[in-house]
Amino acid sequence: MSELKIKKGATSHSAYELRNPNANVIEKHTLAVVVDNEAGVLARVIGLFSGRGYNIESLTVAEIDHTGHRSRITVVTTGTPAVIEQIKAQLGRIVPVHEVHDLTTEGPSVERELALFKVSGTGDKRVEALRLADIFRANVVDSTLHSFVFEITGVPEKIDAFAELMRPLGLSEVARTGVAALSRGKD
């Protein structure tokens, strides 16, 4: 690098983060993007990811402020640290975007996903499914003599694990919401 030995740490920009931005490691980040809930705003966000070749692992969106017409998009993405920085900067450039938060780097956060599982079967399998659902604290939200619909909430890994266990027990359909996330603490 330079012979000038420039002192780092002078600005708020991420260039001064201590991680090596050239590192080739692929990281997974959860971003929260607060946007005006206007027509096409989701297309702008998704178009940015596809147009510039970024990844989307999961994406959830809903209006969070009905009077101010704000929506919160939670997107889980992967990339090298430099790519993650670019994604945040590019999101920040979209006109109806108000805030971009990287929940993975901005301190501790909680992540949850909700999923619905339809499990069909009879006899022992049916009993076992119910027993496991109890262990995972999944609720039964629909039942027939031949099937259950379970509702489960948790981190994506917990839902993955539940899916693995249900598969041999007659899992026939899954609906997942994608991750919603908030930072921990008072602000």
């Binding site: 690098m1 330079s2 012979e3 000038l4 420039i6 002192k7 780092k8 002078a10 600005t11 708020s12 920009h13 991420s14 260039a15 931005p21 050239n22 027509a39 096409g40 297309a43 702008r44 178009g47 147009g51 430099a82 920085e85 670019q86 900067a89 590019q90 920040g92 450039r93 979209i94 006109v95 109806p96 108000h98």
Partner: protein, 584 residues
């Protein structure tokens, strides 16, 4: 006090309130109510182009040469799709445009109606922002916001799509001052700690260089003024991208010339060998950096840019400064002066000596000819004979564009209009029309290639209709010269489809449009012919027949670092490694 009026009337009213004097456009079914309103007033001048692409490039020329946003009005469907190239061009070169498109009535959207296209969807990735207005009450508000977004922060094109029923319906007009202030307010002031870190580096640097770009020009006249002051005060050398030419005068003592793929030897070597690179409003484009891992390996890099996404996008920098160029330069100057105007005098002296040696290579030398007009010679003569004029240059895309950047000099910002980021053949002619509209008494010259020029040559009708005395200076090598050069150097001299065949007789073509045509092929006649062009009060097509196989140098082949530059004809013939051929 609220004012009720039709949507169509609102549009014209909003344009007037935004200070618009010129609109470039083309009518059609979905914008007829707006054209009615244009018919009924005299404040806004409408220029009827011959193709909507021409309207957008003309608006770009207008915008780039005035610093004001360019305005375009086109119809739905094909009118909108024809505007797409211009929008993309403006997006890549950060040109503020407000483009208004007609749309089928709201109740027909989604039915594949006649001339319906998903304009918002198509133009989403090629605008800074776009809006579909479904309610006349929102219309004027949206147009005021559109001007705000187009011109704030990093400028760019925006589009407002207006269904025909919204144009007919009545609604309430919002005044410009009452328009909801957008939350979109990019930050102008740079971080003072970062600026201080830069001043600190400037005080110590032995081999500094300013690397400037279009952002200086977009920041406004004050930025160019401050840049000149900073360069003069520090005595640091300065180079610029194509888009930034003129921000610092070419006659200035610290000027290195343009850098990049076809930049000057001294500029590229200064970039390669510097210990402090100060990027002001440029974006490390691949035409500038060449091979990334060999780009200026020993330097500390500072980057001033109003767009945070430009910083660390391709080159990791040491001192990022997010802010408007003029604001940041003002702070740099103030802090640097208050700390005693220090520079590393002895280091700087050696550096300047080194640069003087590089300059002595005379990288723009070429073999003169008395038989054929060399394109470089044509531009040198054009420079000599026009430099005293109030002159604006536009260009097309190709070898001629780069020669124009090398051999013409730019003393002031906003004087060169060229398609840098997108490299759009067909840009220069309509752009010259837009420039001439904004500067009726100036000498406006489009330096063109015969192939590019044909891409929008229908605009001859526009030039003659509005008596715009634009000069089309065509360097006619009967080749897609830039393509031919790459085929020669990188594709084994297989000249696939790079000959311009069946060219029109440009003199007769000019005459067919009621303009003047001049043909020149003898270097001995060139000066007289150029004078004839300058002195003719009307549009001119100048067919300057030049050496066909002249190559453009210096050249950094794609994938090569700055210190591996091809100079002059030294490279012709011998084996050039083609590992860069995969790059464009």
């Amino acid at each position: 006090m609220t004012r009720q009026m039709t949507g169509a009337k609102m549009i014209v009213q909003a344009l007037k309130d935004q200070g618009v004097d010129t609109v470039f456009g083309y009518p059609g079914g979905a914008v007829l109510p707006i054209y009615d309103e244009i018919f009924l007033q005299n404040d806004i001048h409408h220029i009827l182009v011959r193709h909507e692409q021409g309207a957008v490039h003309a608006a770009e020329g207008y915008a780039r040469s005035t610093g004001k946003p360019g305005v375009v009005l086109v119809t739905s469907g094909p009118g909108a799709t024809n505007a797409v190239t211009g929008l993309t061009d403006a997006l890549l070169d950060s040109i503020p445009l407000v483009v208004l498109t007609g749309q089928v009535p709201t109740f027909m959207i989604g039915t594949d109606g006649f001339q319906e296209a998903d304009t918002i969807g198509i133009t989403r990735p090629c605008t800074k922002h776009n809006w579909l207005v479904k309610d006349t009450d929102d219309l004027s508000q949206v147009i005021h916001q559109a001007f705000h977004v187009a011109t704030s922060g990093r400028p760019g094109p925006v589009l407002v799509d207006i269904p025909k029923d919204v144009q007919f319906a009545n609604g309430t007009y919002s005044e410009k001052k009452d328009a909801k202030t957008s939350h979109y307010q990019p930050r102008l002031k740079g971080d003072i700690d970062a600026i201080t870190a830069l001043v600190d580096a400037m005080e110590k640097a032995e081999r500094p260089v300013f690397y400037t770009g279009g952002g200086v020009i977009n920041s406004g006249p004050a930025a160019s003024q401050l840049l000149r002051e900073l360069v003069d005060a520090t005595d640091f050398p300065i180079t610029s991208t194509l888009m930034g030419l003129g921000a610092y005068p070419a006659s200035g003592k610290n000027w290195l010339g343009m850098l990049g793929m076809h930049g000057l030897y001294e500029a590229n070597l200064a970039m390669h060998g510097c210990d402090l690179m100060i990027n002001i409003g440029a974006r490390f484009d691949d035409r500038i950096t060449g091979r990334l891992d060999a780009f200026s390996p020993g330097s500390a890099k500072a980057h001033i840019d109003i767009d945070p996404s430009s910083i660390n996008k391709v080159i990791q920098v040491d001192i990022p400064i997010i802010g408007d160029v003029a604001h940041v330069l003002e702070d740099i100057l103030r802090i640097w002066k208050s700390r005693g105007r220090k520079v590393n005098k002895s280091g700087l002296k050696n550096w300047q000596n080194q640069i003087t040696q590089w300059k002595a290579v005379n990288c723009l030398d070429y073999a003169p000819s008395t038989k054929a007009i060399k394109p470089q010679y044509a531009l040198q003569r054009l420079e000599e004979l026009t430099k005293g004029h109030d002159r604006y240059i536009t260009t097309e895309v190709g070898q001629h564009q780069m020669w124009a950047a090398q051999y013409l000099t730019f003393e002031a910002p906003n004087r060169l209009m060229t398609s840098g980021g997108l490299g759009t053949m067909g840009y220069g002619f309509p752009a010259s029309i837009g420039v001439q509209m904004a500067h009726p008494d100036a000498l406006v010259i489009n330096v063109a290639g015969e192939a590019s020029w044909q891409m929008n040559m229908q605009e001859m009708g526009t030039a003659t209709q509005y008596r715009l005395p634009v000069k089309q200076f065509i360097l006619n090598n009967e080749r897609l010269g830039m393509v031919r050069q790459w085929q020669q150097l990188l594709h084994g001299e297989r000249y696939s489809q790079s000959w311009s065949e069946s060219l029109p007789d440009f003199v007769k073509l000019a005459e067919a449009f009621g303009a003047k045509g001049i043909l020149c092929s003898d270097p001995a006649d060139l000066d007289d012919a150029i004078m004839e062009m300058i002195n003719h009060d009307g549009p001119v097509i100048f067919d300057c027949v030049v050496e066909k196989h002249e190559n453009l140098y210096p050249m950094i082949l794609s994938g090569k670092p700055h210190n591996e530059m091809l100079l002059g004809d030294a490279a012709d013939g011998d084996g050039i490694q083609s590992d860069g051929a995969v790059l464009v």
